[in-house]
Symmetry: C2
Subunit: 358 residues, 2 copies
Amino acid sequence: MPSERQVGHTMLCLTPSGFSEHRRAIRLCQDQFENLEKHTQWGIDFVERYTKFVKERSEIELNYAKQIRNLSKKYQPKKNAKEEEESKYTWCRAFFTSLNELNDYAGQHELIAENMTSQIIAELTRYIQDLKSERKTHFQDGRKAQQHIENSWKQLEQCKRNFERACKEADRAQQYFEKMDADYNVTKADVEKARQQAQLRHQMASDCKSEYSNYLQKFNQEQTEHYHTLIPNIFQKIQDMEERRIERVGESMKTFAEVDRQILPIVGKCLDGMTKAAEGIEPKTDSAQVVESYKSGFEPPGDVEFEDYGQAMKRTVSETSLTNSRSESKPDKSSKGKKLFFFKKNKLSLKLVSMCLK
Amino acid sequence: MPSERQVGHTMLCLTPSGFSEHRRAIRLCQDQFENLEKHTQWGIDFVERYTKFVKERSEIELNYAKQIRNLSKKYQPKKNAKEEEESKYTWCRAFFTSLNELNDYAGQHELIAENMTSQIIAELTRYIQDLKSERKTHFQDGRKAQQHIENSWKQLEQCKRNFERACKEADRAQQYFEKMDADYNVTKADVEKARQQAQLRHQMASDCKSEYSNYLQKFNQEQTEHYHTLIPNIFQKIQDMEERRIERVGESMKTFAEVDRQILPIVGKCLDGMTKAAEGIEPKTDSAQVVESYKSGFEPPGDVEFEDYGQAMKRTVSETSLTNSRSESKPDKSSKGKKLFFFKKNKLSLKLVSMCLK
């Protein structure tokens, strides 16, 4: 077998083992970064999605509060004479009090929306920006480190190739010198020239070897730092960032419930106000008000008196006409002690009577 | 002055006093009925308006519940592979638990709507029908009683007019008889005829008088019953009806608050469920899960070995090619005790690695 092919075979044999371990490490590291990039992006997407969720909840609360407020407003007494009339009755007042409590009730749901906006949505929106920027930094650092070790590797490969080529050339020069040295037909000067050439090549290979050796040492230091310090540190930072994100999400979820829980006692008070208002209704008082409003000063008529036209037959008509008829037409007051429910007498009622009779 | 005019004057004088008292009583009674009709109609209108109010509130609750349910559903995990992936993480599980609690929360507001519908709207709708029918009965009874006393009065007036006319005719017959009796030119037969006529008229007037007297007694009994029993009873029934209506309104208002109050403890439990879910979030566990998911079986590469091509210079290449290069390319395992965070070794990860390298 020619030595040329053997050298070629040696190179193929020497290079792949270190090369494949390096490539596999770089590749797996890259995969890890890609996985973490996907995972952390999913985390950010979740925080954005969660923020959107809270925003939608907040809008539902606002909408609910608005509808409750409108309902309360719609049934409030109209600002006119009727209002005064209505506020006389305990059941009307109770209803209007209920409506006011309902309005406060709506206010509490507005508060949910406000607190969710300020304590969750605004906070998370700011936080997402910070998170995105922090995440970007970590992956940029990762890419930079990967790029750096890749470049170092390429430079090491170059040094190795230089050394290999120099060895081959020194080997070839050595063989040439040995061939010249063994040939009786070659001049001493040519032998000396070949010897010097072999010596020079040997020196060059030796220089390449120390350059390669130095660079190898430097590369191994860098590689150790890369895989044992730099990359683990970046991964750790990403892990810390992820843990802080999860904590933050947990806090927002707690706030979400807390903001809602805070209104419960106030809502309870609004409901108590409604119950109290309803309990303040007095049917007897209200019906007495109706009597007061509609009473007339009128008392039931007494018995109708007998009008005796027969007397005229006994006397001249002129004698009886005015005296008798007037006294007879006076109603008998004796039977009028009992008052009719809606017939009470006082100044107001007399006024009402006169109004009624106009 | 002629007696004709005097009689006429007497009539004008006798009639109005009883007449006006009767008319005023009838009129005022009518006014009372009209006022009460208006007032009770207003009361019924209120109950209808209140029922509409509760219906609108109930619709707002249903709408709110629907929106909350949709929100919960919208953010639930999609039924696919990702769901299983997501449920690995405590923060995902916490969010899904929160969504389920929110769904229950919505259910409580549906319950408000349901209870308002069954306990207030349905009840009041039935009640309004009863109330309308009861009210109609009372005012029909009132109109009937008023009509009856009015008819009795008219009949009494008729009896009185009959008696009055009979008296006038008896008076006229008496005067005619007296004139005939005093006239020397008139035959005894004519005087006798006039006397008999006067006697007949007197008898007729006497009959009318007792008819009038009897009817007057009957009327006065009826009038007393009308104003002291019938009408006050009807008014009392209307008043009772009104008081029951007000009580009923009060009860509905209490139920309105109660139905809402009943859900507060359950809503509180839903919120506690959300808080508990959020408290169950474990950032460390979650990040450990991420490590588990993305770990590869790979360990950081060891130092790259020096490849001494220079040896070839000393020996024949074929001697060194395979033996040295193979042993030299083996990485030094001594420095690999420390594990990189994302580089753990196990079956799963080896599988992942092989997938990554394909």
